[in-house]
C-alpha cells in the first residue's frame, strides 16, 4: 500500500486544525493515497464525518487521536480495529474524566490498560520521546521508548519522523534513527498535518493565536513557525524522506493493517430492566392495551388493527425497549407532577398516544405512522418531549440513576464559526482593537462566515456603517476559510443517549459544565452511529402554564388545565382578533397577520396556523390559497381525484409532511417507507440532479397508475416546492394543543397568565417590558416591586400584577431567599434599618431595591433612603442591637421628613427604575415624548391601527425583533413590531426602503416612520404599516410631570 498520512488534525482539534474534513479526504484521494488518518487532540469527534468523507472518496479511514499524557506530552494513537477504537474511546474518556475540565491527560497506567488494538506513534516534538531527545535527555528518552514498546509491543510502537522545517530536526532525527535500531522498532514518516495547502498556513496561525489568546505580534511556543504542516503529496514526502524510504513504506504498511473501526448503521438500543418473566414486546403490548382502554374506552376494530400494525413494526425494528424507556421516564414525570408535552413526529403513532407520550390522537386525526417509523426507513425515529424548564434536570437525573452513568450521557453540539463569532475571535487574534472588532461584529447580521464580503454590498446597516472593508481584507478572508469549523464542544440542550453496552466502548465521554457526562458526538453523528437518542427539552411555556395553574387555583381550587373546554368561542375570538401576544406559537407578527385573515374558529384552524407560517408554505405560496379556500372565497379543487381524501382537511393545499408521503403513496404507488425516503431526500439532499431523478421516478410511477403526465408533473411540483421546509401534522397538532390552551388562559385568566409569562422569561417573541405594557393595555393594573408584598417572581394581587423582587438588578438567589424568609406576615419590615438588620443583604442590593421603588412603602422619599443607607455602614456586618455609627435621618412620614432631603424628580426616578428593573414601569418611553411627537403630527400606534386603509401617516415607537425571513422572490423584506404606550403596530419594509433605511432599522432602538396604512384582513381588523421611510428617533427627555 502506498504512502498515507497518519498524523492529521481536522477542525475538531478545535482551533488547531485549519483544513476541512471533506477537503482533506478529497485532496488525499486526488494525491492517490489509499488511506487517511485523523488524529485530533484528545477527541474523536470528527470520526463519523471523517468516516463518511473518506468513504465518499474511496479512502480507508483510520481513526485515531493525539492523546495528551499526564505531564503534558503527546502520543499519536491509531485504532487498528474496532477493539482499538473502543480502547481509544476509553482512554480518551479516562483522560477527560480523571482530570479537571478542559485539561485532559491520560496516565501511563491507563495507556497500559487500554493498549489492545492500538498502534502508537511517538508523536510530534511534544511527544514523550522527541521532547526528551530535544531536551538532551537521551537516557530518559530511551527509558520511555522502552516502556512504550513494552506497553504496545515492538510491532505496534513506531518512532515518528516529521520533517517540517523546525530547528533541531537534523539532530532529533539522528537520535530517533539510532533509537529505532537499538529498540528494534520501526520508523514512520508523518507530516503532522494542520492545514491543507501551504498557503493556508496563515489560517492555522491565526487560529493558534485565538486558541492561545495571543495576537499575531506576540511570540508563543505553540505558534507554527512555517508553512510546512500541510497535506503533502506522496511525491513530496518521498523527496523529503529521500534518505529514509523505509519510514515512508512503514506509513503505507500501517495504513494497510488498520481496519475500519466504525460500524455505522447498526442500531444500539437501550436495555429496559424488565420485571421477572416479562419480555419487552410483552410488556409494551400490555401497557399499550391499558393505555388504549384509558384513551379510547372501547377498542374498535380500527384501533386494534392500527395498534397491531404499529406494534409489529416497532417489534420488527427492535424498538420495544426504546418505547419502554420513554414510557418509564414519563411515568416518573407524572408521579412527580412535572408537566410535559410530546412534540414531533412521535405523535403520528397511536402507540405513543396510548402510552401517554403524545397527546394527539393519531387514529382520529388519520396521522401517518410511517412518517414516524417504517420498515423501509433508514433513519432513526426521534421521540422529543418538552418539559417545564425548571424541572427538566430532575428527569435527566432520573434517567442517569435508572440506567447508570456507564450507559447515559448528553449529546454534544458544536459551536461553529459564523460571521460574527469568526470576526470576534479572529479579529482579536489579528490584533485589531477590540472596539473595532465589536463594532464590525455588531453590524453583521446572522450569516455564514463565508458571506461577510457579500454582506458589505447587500446589507445596508453594514454598507452604510462607515466601516472600511479594505482594512479587514485579511480578516474577511481568514473568516471565510474557517466558515462552519467547530470552535468548541458544548452540550446539546436536551439530547440524551441511553445505551445497552457501556457508552465508552462507542464514544469518549467527558464532563459538561453542568456536571453531566457528555459524549463527543453531535445529534447527527449519534444517528449515524446507531445510538438511540431521546430529546428531553426545556420548554419555558410549560413552566408558565404550571405557574398559571398554581396562581388560578389560589382563587379557584377546581380549575383543571387538562379539562379546559376544547371549543371555547371566546378563546378563538381572541386569536381571530390577533390578540395573541404571549400565546404559544401564535404570537409572532406573521401569525397575527394570518389570524386577521384566517379568522380561526376551530382547532383545525390553529393546527393549520402553526403549520402555515413556515418557510415551506410561504415559499410555495400556499398561504393565500389556503385562506381563500378556508373562507369559501375560492372553490376547493383537486388536480386528481386520488388527492381528495389526502388533502380534504387542508382544502386541497399540501400543508403537512404526512400529506407528501400519502401523495407519493396514492399517486405514484410508492410504499410508505419509500415515500418517506422521498420526503427525507427532498429535505436533506436538495441537489438539482437528485430532485430531477426523484421527479422522474414519481412521474413514471404515477403514469403507470393512470395519472396523466401533465398532472403528475404538477403534483410533483407542489410537493417539491413544499417538502424541504414543511411541518409534520403531528407536531403542528401537538403545538396547537398548547397554543389553544394558552389562548384560553390569556382570555379567561389574563393576570395570572401575564404574571406567569413574565416570571418565566426569557421566552417567546416579545421582551418583558412589552409584555408588561401589553398587560397594562389589557386593563391589568401593574404594581411596582414592594419589599413587603412582592414575592420573588411576578404575582397577582387583587387582580393586579405585582412585579417580583427577582427583577431587581444584581439581586441573587441568596439575597432573595433572605429577604423573603426574614419577612414575616405579622411583622413586615418597618424601616430600612429594620430591613438591613433582619436580612443583612449587601449595600448594592439595598441601593437597587430603593431605586426600583421596592422600599417606597417604608419611606416615600428614595433619596432620603439612600442617605439612610449610607449611614448604615456595611449592612452585611450590622449588629442586630448595636447602635448605628451615625444617626439615621428621621424615619417614616411626617412633617419635616419629606423636606429634610428633596426626593428625586419623576424623570430621575423613571431612569433609575429603568436601570434597576430593566422595565419602564411608571411611564412608557414613548409617552414621555408624546407631546413633542404630537406637535410634529406623529400619530400613536393605536391611531395608525384605526386609520383608513391607504392613508399616509407618521408614527414613532420602539422597534421589536426586526427580521428578514426567506421570501418566494428572494428579495429582502423586513418585518418588525413597533411599540408605543397605546398599542403594538406591525410594520413591513420592502427591499427599496430597506436598502435606503436598513441602517436605522438594525441599529436604532427608537424609530420614526412614514408609511401607508395597510389592511389585508377583514375591514374591521387593525391596520398595519408599509413603511416608505424609516429613521432613528432621538427622544429629548426633559423632566416629566408626575402621573
Amino acid at each position: 500500500m502506498g504512502f498515507a498520512h497518519l498524523h492529521v488534525h481536522t477542525p475538531f482539534s478545535f482551533l488547531d486544525g485549519a483544513a476541512g474534513i471533506k477537503a482533506l479526504a478529497r485532496a488525499a484521494a486526488e494525491h492517490g493515497m489509499p488511506a487517511l488518518a485523523m488524529t485530533d487532540h484528545n477527541n474523536v469527534s470528527a470520526a463519523v464525518q471523517f468516516h463518511q468523507a473518506c468513504a465518499a472518496e474511496g479512502l480507508k479511514p483510520i481513526l485515531g487521536a493525539e492523546v495528551t499524557l499526564v505531564g503534558g506530552r503527546h502520543l499519536t494513537l491509531l485504532a487498528e480495529n474496532p477493539c482499538g477504537y473502543a480502547n481509544l474511546c476509553r482512554l480518551v474518556s479516562h483522560a477527560h474524566l480523571s482530570q479537571p475540565r478542559r485539561r485532559p491527560a491520560a496516565s501511563l497506567d491507563a495507556l497500559r490498560e487500554h493498549a489492545e488494538g492500538l498502534l502508537c506513534l511517538s508523536g510530534c516534538r511534544r511527544g514523550c520521546v522527541p521532547s526528551l531527545l530535544l531536551a538532551g535527555d537521551a537516557d530518559e528518552a530511551l527509558a520511555v521508548a522502552c516502556e512504550l514498546r513494552d506497553i504496545f509491543g515492538a510491532d505496534r510502537f513506531f518512532l515518528e519522523l516529521q520533517r517540517i522545517g523546525l530547528p533541531g530536526t537534523r539532530r532529533l532525527h539522528a537520535h530517533l534513527v539510532e533509537l529505532a535500531e537499538r529498540l528494534g522498532v520501526d520508523l514512520v514518516a508523518a507530516n503532522n498535518v494542520h492545514h491543507l495547502r501551504r498557503e493556508d498556513f496563515h489560517v492555522h496561525d491565526v487560529l493558534t493565536c485565538a486558541r492561545t489568546l495571543t495576537v499575531l505580534e506576540d511570540v508563543h511556543p505553540e505558534r507554527p513557525l512555517n508553512a510546512q504542516q500541510y497535506l503533502r503529496s506522496p511525491e513530496e514526502m518521498a523527496e523529503l524522506f529521500w534518505d529514509c524510504p523505509q519510514a515512508l513504506d512503514n506509513a503505507g504498511r500501517i495504513a494497510e493493517r488498520c481496519e475500519p473501526a466504525l460500524q455505522p448503521g447498526q442500531y444500539r438500543f437501550p436495555a429496559y430492566a424488565l420485571p421477572p418473566g416479562e419480555t419487552a414486546p410483552g410488556l409494551l403490548r400490555k401497557l399499550v392495551a391499558e393505555g388504549a382502554r384509558r384513551r379510547y374506552g372501547r377498542i374498535t376494530g380500527e384501533v386494534r388493527e392500527r395498534l397491531e400494525r404499529e406494534l409489529s413494526v416497532i417489534g420488527q425494528l427492535g424498538f420495544d425497549e426504546y418505547f419502554l424507556v420513554v414510557w418509564d421516564l414519563l411515568r416518573f414525570a407524572r408521579e412527580r407532577g412535572i408537566r410535559f408535552a410530546g412534540r414531533g413526529s412521535a405523535a403520528d403513532s397511536a402507540v405513543a398516544y396510548c402510552l401517554g407520550i403524545a397527546n394527539v390522537d393519531a387514529i382520529a386525526r388519520r396521522l401517518l405512522f410511517e412518517r414516524f417509523m417504517s420498515l423501509e426507513r433508514a433513519a432513526m425515529p426521534d421521540i422529543d418531549i418538552d418539559f417545564e424548564a425548571e424541572r427538566r434536570d430532575e428527569i435527566m437525573a432520573y434517567v442517569i440513576e435508572r440506567y447508570g452513568r456507564e450507559h447515559v450521557a448528553m449529546v454534544a453540539t458544536y459551536n461553529t464559526f459564523q460571521a460574527r463569532s469568526a470576526v470576534r475571535d479572529l479579529g482579536k487574534a489579528m490584533g485589531f482593537p477590540l472596539g473595532e472588532v465589536d463594532r464590525l461584529a455588531r453590524h453583521l447580521p446572522y450569516l455564514s462566515a463565508r458571506e461577510i464580503d457579500a454582506a458589505f454590498q447587500r446589507v445596508p446597516e453594514l454598507r452604510d456603517s462607515g466601516i472600511p472593508r479594505e482594512r479587514y481584507r485579511q480578516l474577511i478572508e481568514t473568516a471565510r476559510a474557517v466558515a462552519g469549523f467547530p470552535r468548541h464542544l458544548s452540550t446539546h440542550l436536551g439530547g440524551l443517549v441511553v445505551t445497552r453496552e457501556p457508552l465508552m466502548d462507542l464514544t469518549p465521554v467527558q464532563m459538561a459544565a453542568k456536571g453531566l457526562p457528555v459524549i463527543q458526538f453531535d445529534k447527527d453523528d449519534v444517528e449515524d452511529l446507531g445510538l438511540v437518542k431521546l430529546d428531553l427539552l426545556c420548554l419555558r411555556m410549560l413552566g408558565a402554564v404550571e405557574d398559571s395553574i398554581r396562581a388560578i387555583r389560589t382563587r379557584d381550587a377546581s380549575f383543571d388545565y387538562d379539562a379546559i373546554p376544547p371549543d371555547d368561542a371566546e378563546s378563538y375570538r381572541l386569536v381571530a382578533a390577533s390578540d395573541t401576544v404571549g400565546v404559544f406559537q401564535l404570537e409572532s407578527p406573521a401569525q397575527k397577520a394570518l389570524h386577521a385573515r384566517l379568522q380561526p374558529d376551530r382547532f383545525e384552524d390553529l393546527i393549520a396556523a402553526v403549520a402555515l407560517i413556515r418557510p415551506g408554505p410561504i415559499i410555495a405560496n400556499m398561504v393565500d390559497p389556503y385562506i381563500e379556500r378556508r373562507q369559501g372565497k375560492t372553490p376547493v379543487a383537486y388536480l386528481h381525484p386520488s388527492l381528495r381524501p389526502i388533502l380534504e382537511k387542508t382544502y386541497g393545499v399540501v400543508l403537512f409532511q404526512e400529506q407528501v408521503i400519502e401523495i407519493a403513496t396514492e399517486v405514484a404507488g410508492f410504499t410508505p417507507g419509500e415515500a418517506d425516503q422521498l420526503r427525507r431526500a427532498m429535505t436533506h439532499n436538495r441537489s438539482w440532479e437528485e430532485m430531477e431523478q426523484i421527479g422522474r421516478q414519481f412521474i413514471a410511477q404515477a403514469r403507470t397508475r393512470g395519472v396523466g403526465e401533465r398532472v403528475a408533473k404538477e403534483i410533483f411540483s407542489y410537493i417539491q416546492a413544499y417538502a424541504g421546509y414543511g411541518f409534520c401534522e403531528a407536531h403542528a397538532a401537538a403545538f396547537a394543543d398548547t397554543a389553544y390552551k394558552t389562548a384560553y388562559l390569556k382570555r379567561h385568566h389574563p393576570a395570572e397568565f401575564y404574571a406567569a409569562l413574565l416570571s418565566n422569561q426569557p421566552m417567546g417573541y416579545y421582551p418583558p417590558n412589552t409584555l408588561l405594557w401589553e398587560a397594562r393595555r389589557k386593563g391589568i393594573e401593574v404594581r411596582g416591586p414592594d419589599l413587603n408584598r412582592s414575592e420573588a417572581q411576578y404575582t397577582v394581587e387583587d387582580g393586579a400584577l405585582r412585579v417580583g423582587l427577582a427583577q431587581v438588578r444584581g439581586i441573587g438567589q441568596s439575597a432573595l431567599d433572605r429577604l423573603i424568609a426574614a419577612r414575616e406576615p405579622a411583622a413586615p419590615f418597618a424601616s430600612l434599618l429594620d430591613l438591613a438588620r433582619r436580612t443583612r443583604v449587601d449595600r448594592d442590593v439595598l441601593r437597587n431595591l430603593i431605586l426600583a421603588g421596592a422600599l417606597d412603602s417604608l419611606h416615600p422619599n428614595r433619596r432620603q433612603l439612600l442617605w439612610e443607607l449610607s449611614a448604615l455602614g456595611d449592612p452585611t456586618r450590622l449588629d442586630a442591637q448595636a447602635p448605628l455609627p451615625f444617626s439615621p435621618l428621621p424615619q417614616g412620614e411626617g412633617p419635616g421628613v419629606r423636606d429634610s432631603v428633596p426626593d428625586f424628580s419623576p424623570s430621575e426616578k423613571w431612569w433609575q427604575e429603568l436601570d434597576a428593573l430593566g422595565l419602564a414601569l411608571s411611564r412608557h418611553p414613548m409617552a414621555i415624548a408624546r407631546g413633542q411627537l404630537q406637535a410634529q403630527g406623529v400619530l400613536t400606534c393605536a391611531e395608525v391601527r384605526a386609520a383608513r386603509t391607504g392613508a399616509t401617516v407618521k408614527v414613532a415607537g420602539l422597534i421589536i425583533r426586526p427580521h428578514r425571513p426567506p421570501t418566494k422572490s428572494g428579495r429582502t423584506v423586513v418585518f418588525f413590531t413597533l411599540e408605543d404606550e397605546t398599542e403594538l403596530l406591525e410594520v413591513t419594509v420592502f427591499e427599496s426602503v430597506y436598502q435606503r433605511c436598513g441602517k436605522a432599522i438594525f441599529t436604532q432602538p427608537m424609530l420614526l416612520l412614514t408609511g401607508r396604512v395597510d389592511r389585508r384582513g377583514a375591514a374591521n381588523t387593525a391596520g398595519a404599516l408599509v413603511a416608505s421611510h424609516v429613521e432613528g428617533y432621538t427622544m429629548v427627555c426633559r423632566d416629566m410631570p408626575s402621573e
Partner: protein, 81 residues
Amino acid sequence: MLRLADRTLSVLETPRGDPQAFLWRGRRVRVRQIVDDWEEEGCWWRDEEPRRVYRVLGHDDTLYELHQLAASGWRLFRTYD
C-alpha cells in the same frame, strides 16, 4: 563571539539547494557541515518574506547563519566564532 552582519551573499548551492560555499569578505568559505536548518514564515501579516535558515560550520571553524529568502536571495545574518 556573536556578530550581526545582515548582508547579501553570493552562495554556491548543492543540487538539493543547500549551501555548499559562499563568498564572505572577499574570500571563499567552504561549508564543512550544516549544523541545523529550518524554515520561518516570518511576519506574513506584514508581507515579510518567508526564509530558510541554515546554521553552517565553515572550513574556518566559524559558525555562520545564512538566510535564504524567497524573493531576495541569500543573506548572511550573523556569525559566531
